[in-house]
């Protein structure tokens, strides 16, 4: 089937989104308050059982989807809003200024999100917001590079030359020609970065630098599950599976979008 990646990605992400939306209105139980006996196996009424504190796993999983999506949206938003303009700037600049910007990007890219998160946590206390900002900033170089590469291609085209021949300024060219033409590239990058952001948030929460308890987060659920791993291994499986589904979904979407773009770019003779 053509576009299998794309549709599979959409379905998986749809699943996560619907879960998050539904959980805003309703969940089987309160995700934060203990509900019954601790470490119950899956059954009824707790479909996926309870955790070490007696909280309903299913409800926590559902509400955790919200956090997962928020982190992705904010992190990708920050990365795109900072990275794309810088990328355009870098493409438009000539000579030493462009070089300086690129080297600075190299340095920034070498800086792991983890370290940034630690720094922010140290300064402001670790929570979901600091995690989102750290992940977003760490992803800026990716967006910068893709925007720069796309912009360079567009700027070399004849239709930009035609616009310059009319005396249309660089800013106007960036706005009317470059942005619409790099939008697909940036979209693909956004999808891939979203997946990375979810993983990063899970890791940070696992380390205690992200979402703080008792707010449910798939990463912190993993950490909680660690201490009772040999007693109730399933507790680690559910959030792990949820993370995998979300990440897979966004990666497939990114792949599907990339495939969608490629044939269009190639002219059929």
């Amino acid at each position: 089937m053509r576009r299998a990646s794309l549709w599979a990605g959409v379905v998986l992400i749809g699943f996560v989104v619907v879960t998050a939306v539904v959980s805003r209105l309703w969940s089987p139980f309160d995700p934060v308050m203990p509900v019954g006996t601790r470490l119950l196996p899956p059954g009824w009424p707790c479909v996926l059982g309870t955790d070490a504190f007696g909280r309903d796993v299913a409800s926590r999983l559902m509400v955790g989807a919200q956090g997962c999506l928020w982190v992705g949206i904010v992190a990708v938003g920050i990365a795109a809003l900072v990275g794309v303009p810088l990328g355009l700037l870098s493409a438009g600049l000539k000579g030493p200024a462009s070089e300086v910007l690129l080297r600075a990007t190299d340095v920034a890219q070498a800086f792991p999100a983890l370290l940034l998160a630690l720094l922010l946590a140290g300064a402001f206390g670790g929570n979901t917001v600091t995690a989102m900002i750290a992940i977003g900033l760490a992803a800026v170089p990716q967006f910068l590079r893709i925007a720069r590469a796309g912009a360079l291609t567009v700027l070399a085209s004849d239709f930009v030359l035609a616009a310059r021949a009319c005396g249309i300024g660089r800013v106007a060219i960036a706005r009317t020609h470059v942005l619409p033409n790099i939008a697909p590239l940036v979209g693909v990058q956004a999808s891939v970065t979203f997946a990375m952001a979810i993983l990063a948030e899970a890791a940070l929460s696992y380390l205690g630098l992200g979402t703080q308890p008792p707010t449910p987060s798939w990463g912190s659920m993993l950490r909680d599950a660690q201490s009772v791993l040999f007693v109730d291994p399933l507790l680690a499986v559910w959030p792990g599976l949820a993370i995998a589904v979300a990440v897979l979904g966004f990666n497939l979407l990114g792949d599907g979008l990339r495939d969608l773009l490629d044939p269009r770019l190639r002219e059929v003779a």
Binding site: D158, L161, A162, A163, C166, G167, A172, P180
Partner: protein, 261 residues
């Protein structure tokens, strides 16, 4: 062709890079273009013909030499002072698949020159929609297609769109850079006839760049032959092609494939 000089280029030189790796794209080229002239610029790759027209259209700055347009100096001016040139000199590029923004509707493409602040300052107020209709009809396109995208048109039609865009700001000079080389042979004559008619109808001066001598011979009244950044020979096309004085021109003419029957 009147005697009024539209373009006067003196000693135009353009060198890329420095030192041992310097590439001399253009070397001390002198050129005069008169109003109403149809000048052909003939050359193979590396001849400097593309560099020459970029310098004339102020899309690039010369390393040495000067360009004057309608008596006003162009070289050394800042972009914001070039409005007088931008409005009066327009270019039709070679590849219609690359010269039209694939994400813009035809309507917006054709009116783009009219959105340039530099050109607006030089032009009396024009109603963009009316202008689109006028231009599309002038190039033989259906106004009903104004809201389509370039990929919905054939190569020949896209080139017509490019011509419509070039004519939108009422230019005096049309620079055509290999306008039919990327087109299928069955549509070249249509576009050449169109250019001919439009140049006549609007009293334009045309600079026609081509590597194809057969086309230049048909379209242009005068021509220059370029090789490796220099002008090798210049003159009326009729005599240039029947009695070339320079060896390179002779070689070019000899290489043109003739109909062997």
């Amino acid at each position: 062709m009147s005697n009024e000089i539209i373009f006067d280029a003196r000693s135009l030189t353009r060198t890329y890079g420095t030192g041992a790796r310097a590439v001399r794209a253009l070397e001390a080229v002198d050129l005069t273009v008169r109003r109403g002239e149809r000048l052909g610029v003939v050359g193979e790759s590396g001849s400097g013909k593309s560099t020459l027209i970029r310098l004339l259209a102020a899309l690039d700055t010369p390393t040495a030499g000067s360009v004057t347009f309608e008596g006003r100096p162009v070289t050394g001016l800042a972009e914001r002072d070039l409005g007088f040139l931008r409005r009066r000199v327009q270019i039709v590029f070679q590849d219609p698949r690359a010269s039209l923004d694939p994400r813009m509707k035809v309507r917006r493409i054709i009116t783009e020159p009219l959105r340039s602040p530099l050109i607006r300052a030089e032009l009396a107020q024009l109603d963009p929609d009316a202008r689109v209709k006028e231009m599309m009809e002038a190039v033989g396109l259906d106004y009903a297609d104004a809201d389509r995208y370039p990929h919905e048109f054939s190569g020949g039609q896209r080139q017509r769109i490019a011509i419509a865009r070039a004519l939108a700001p009422k230019p005096h000079v049309l620079i055509a850079d290999e306008p039919v080389s990327a087109l299928d042979v069955s549509v070249r004559a249509q576009v050449l006839n169109l250019l001919n008619d439009l140049v006549d109808a609007f009293g334009l001066t045309m600079i026609f760049v081509s590597h194809d001598l057969r086309v230049v011979r048909h379209v242009c009244s005068t021509a220059i032959v370029m090789q490796r950044g220099r002008v090798v020979e210049a003159g009326p096309t009729a005599s240039l092609f029947s009695n070339p004085t320079q060896e390179y021109t002779r070689q070019l003419l000899a290489a043109v494939p003739s109909f062997r029957t």
